[in-house]
């Protein structure tokens, strides 16, 4: 088997694992904050509904965390199995955040276990809420550390290579690389946004299913408000990310925007097809690319032709970029309409068709997450460590990768179906109306 082949197969397997893992990782980072907000609102307003909301979310959350742990372990090991050359190099320079990520997750797992198994154990809800803080912090910290590793792959620094040896390694400098702030903020903000919309979709689903309980309305309104805030934050941070790219990875931005010649007054191209180096049938927003890259309409944006052909990212990442941005914009706009409408009492927010749009927000946000990660990963090609190591040179020489692809594909299919089946079954068996009634009955009777 040829060398190129294992690199391609390794990429396919990594893509599969990451694409699957990222769904769980994203909600894994975002949902603790949602639970926290709901429980906090419940305590503040002394409203049983929000407390129950937090509790029911927590129940579903454990299941996604458990699958996330499994797929996270898989990607952790696969990095060494599929990219041994890269990990050998990375181990020397960027091992510190990888190591700390495990600690952060450890911390989260411990407190998640405690949080879940101590509902109603405390007289005071506020004490129970306190346990959630380390869960949310641990989740945020693990996303911080693992994103740092990914940021390092995009803008490596903190070491020198002398005759193939690493000299002058500065682990902290490697950690604080220029890609970190925009990437970390973007990852976290989208995680919160996506989690909010996924939870909103669930509430919308129940309302479409005919339930008219105020519990679902509260859930929907709460999550859409949070979704609005974070979709706006995401858009702003996304703009900063454009500025980071223009400064440090101009080829990625240029490829995403089909921007070939270095020039000022650059327009932003949406969709279209490419004919040679000429975009056709595209929507062009004048000056927008210059603004995205440097903040002024006349600013010069570096074009793709400045880079040697074998160091250019594939041009189809344009569509990934458009998908991500398009969905992000739609979600910000739509959640704005809903929130204002719900606040002012517009009739359309109660319309049936509007609920279907609400239902779509969660899945759309997940699609945007996938598109965004594909964009950033494919957009880094041909490098695995930009400027230092190409992806093709980092792959394993083992000949069994193809078999592993089949094995893991089967696993992810089973885990994916399992998650959906178990979650729906769990909530169907114990609908909120029934649980609220049970709790009322319990309270009315003799205290336990």
């Amino acid at each position: 088997m040829g060398f190129e082949d294992t690199a391609l197969l390794s990429r396919i397997l990594t893509l599969m694992t990451l694409s699957f893992h990222i769904l769980y990782a994203t909600v894994g980072v975002g949902i603790p904050l949602m639970i926290m907000i709901a429980q906090w609102v419940g305590i503040k307003k002394n409203d049983e509904h929000y407390i129950l909301l937090a509790r029911r979310w927590a129940r579903g959350f454990v299941i996604t965390v458990a699958v996330g742990v499994v797929t996270g372990t898989a990607i952790g090991l696969q990095l060494s199995l599929l990219w041994p050359e890269f990990m050998q190099l990375a181990g020397n320079v960027i091992a510190l955040p990888l190591f700390m990520e495990v600690f952060a997750f450890f911390f989260e797992a411990i407190f998640l276990g405690i949080y879940l198994y101590t509902w109603d154990r405390f007289e005071d809800q506020r004490k129970h809420l306190l346990i959630l803080i380390p869960v949310a912090l641990g989740a945020a910290a693990s996303s911080l550390f693992i994103t740092i590793v990914n940021a390092f792959m995009n803008s490596p620094q903190g070491f020198e290579i002398l005759n193939g040896e690493f000299v002058n390694v500065q682990p902290l400098l490697a950690i604080f690389n220029p890609a970190v702030p925009t990437k970390v903020a973007h990852v976290m903000s989208t995680a919160f946004m996506t989690s909010a919309f996924v939870l909103a979709s669930i509430a919308a689903l129940r309302m479409i299913g005919g339930s008219d309980h105020v519990y679902h309305k509260k859930a929907l309104f709460l999550t859409m408000k949070i979704g609005l805030i974070f979709s706006i934050a995401t858009a702003i941070i996304g703009d900063f990310s454009g500025k980071y790219l223009a400064e440090y990875q101009p080829e990625k931005l240029a490829a995403a925007e089909w921007h070939f010649e270095t020039e000022g007054d650059a327009g932003l191209i949406l969709f279209g097809v490419l004919d040679g180096q000429e975009p056709k049938y595209a929507i062009k927003i004048p000056y927008a690319l210059s603004i995205l890259a440097h903040g002024t309409p006349g600013a010069e944006v570096i074009g793709l032709n400045e880079f040697p052909e074998d160091e250019r990212p594939p041009l189809w990442i344009h569509y990934l970029f458009d998908t991500m941005v398009g969905i992000g914009m739609w979600l910000a706009f739509f959640s704005m309409v809903y929130v204002v409408g719900a606040w002012r009492g517009w009739a359309i927010v109660r319309a049936k068709w509007f609920r279907w749009l609400l239902l779509a927000t969660g899945p759309l946000a997940l699609v945007a997450i996938e598109a965004g990660w594909w964009f950033t990963e494919v957009g880094r090609q041909p490098w695995i460590l930009r400027g230092y190591m190409k992806t093709a040179d980092a792959a394993t020489t083992s000949g069994q990768v193809d078999l592993m692809i089949i094995l893991f594909a089967g696993l992810y299919i089973i885990l994916g179906i399992g998650t959906v089946v178990v979650l729906t079954r769990m909530y169907k068996r114990n609908p909120v109306e029934k649980e609220l009634a049970d709790r009322e009955a319990k309270k009315g009777g003799v205290q336990e």
């Binding site: 927590a58 797929t71 372990t73 050998q88 190591f99």
Partner: protein
């Protein structure tokens, strides 16, 4: 003490902790499946759900910690072990997924207690040590070979070697033994006489095979890796101590008393043996290619990892204590009197 030794000691300690907590987890799953098979399910299921469900993610993290730490301290291992372990490690991952999803789907979630699932979960507990433990055999050398610049694993040599199979058998026996001793203690704390009786029986049953295969491996090393064998013999007194601790556990189990102490002695037994084995393996990570010295990371990284490790431990130990106080040492919880699951 050099940085290399601090690094490997930390990792070895974590591997040891993983061996203990994972053995409890793996073995419990197997006993659970076995009792389902013989229709005694109710005896163990409750205990397994009360103890294992809250802590399995923590168990898993010990494993992740070990392999991430190895890459951090000894990046070159990624090259040798990463390339050669693709298949065995992937199989182990699949098995781990079966276990993880069992907790997720069957105990947290919709309580799917399909028999097939229980059997798969139980069986994965046996297959996992069987798929992970051959790595120890590989590290003795002779199975990982070089094809020019790239290492490959000689499966035929590995699977026809008596050393591999003894290590596999030892891992299975040890998993069942460790787990049974722990569960004897846990069941007796929970005041469940039936389960205590059953687990004590299993513990005594697996004590013999554990010690016999462990001794057998030492002698097989003589022909496989003479250098390691002679270093092992230099440490004979530690193995002797380990054997005494083993006798202590068996004695207490036999006399039906102090199950807590029996478990502590068992941890001591495995601790001494595990470290004596580790020390005698020094300085090799992989005979004869890789030692802890030539695969070590740079000094700056090593120091920062050690600092991160100490800081992390300062955070984790109190949290772990809290976790165990709630789920292991809380009488009401252990007895199943209080259930506050979300």
């Amino acid at each position: 003490m050099t940085l290399e030794i601090i690094g490997i000691s930390v990792l070895w300690l974590f591997l040891f902790l993983y061996v203990i907590v994972a053995s409890i987890d793996f073995g419990a799953g197997f006993f659970n499946a076995y009792s389902a098979f013989t229709n005694k399910q109710h005896i163990l299921t409750g205990i397994i759900q009360r103890y294992l469900s809250p802590v399995w993610e923590v168990t898993n993290v010990f494993f992740v910690f070990f392999f991430v730490g190895v890459i951090g301290f000894f990046p070159q291992t990624a090259f040798y072990y990463g390339t050669t372990l693709l298949v065995p490690a992937s199989i182990a991952l699949i098995l781990l997924s079966i276990r993880g999803s069992y907790y997720a789907f069957a105990t947290y979630g919709a309580k799917i207690n399909h028999r097939g699932y229980i059997y798969m979960y139980g069986l994965s507990g046996l297959l996992l040590p069987a798929s992970l433990s051959p790595v120890l055999a590989m590290s003795e050398g002779g199975f990982i070979k070089m094809d020019g610049d790239s290492p490959y694993l000689d499966y035929l040599a590995l699977f026809t070697s008596p050393l591999t199979w003894s290590i596999v058998v030892l891992s299975l026996a040890a998993v069942l033994y460790i787990s049974a001793v722990f569960l004897t203690w846990y069941a007796s704390k929970a005041g469940d006489a039936k389960a205590t009786h059953l687990m004590r029986k299993y513990a005594l049953l697996w004590a013999g095979p554990t010690i016999i295969t462990a001794t057998g491996i030492i002698f097989e090393l003589r022909s496989h890796n003479a250098e390691h064998y002679s270093r092992l013999l230099d440490l004979w007194w530690i193995f002797g101590l380990s054997f005494l601790l083993f006798l202590g556990t068996v004695y207490l189990l036999w006399k039906r008393r102090n199950y807590g102490w029996a478990f502590i002695l068992l941890v001591g037994q495995f601790f001494t043996a595990f470290f004596a084995y580790g020390v005698s393996h020094y300085p090799y990570l992989l005979y004869p290619y890789l030692t802890i010295y030539d695969s070590f990371t740079n000094e700056a990284m090593a120091i920062s990892l050690i600092i991160a490790f100490i800081a992390g431990l300062g955070l984790l130990l109190p949290s772990l204590y809290l976790l165990f106080r709630l789920f292991l040492f809380d009488k009401d919880y252990v007895k199943g009197k209080s259930d506050y699951h979300a």
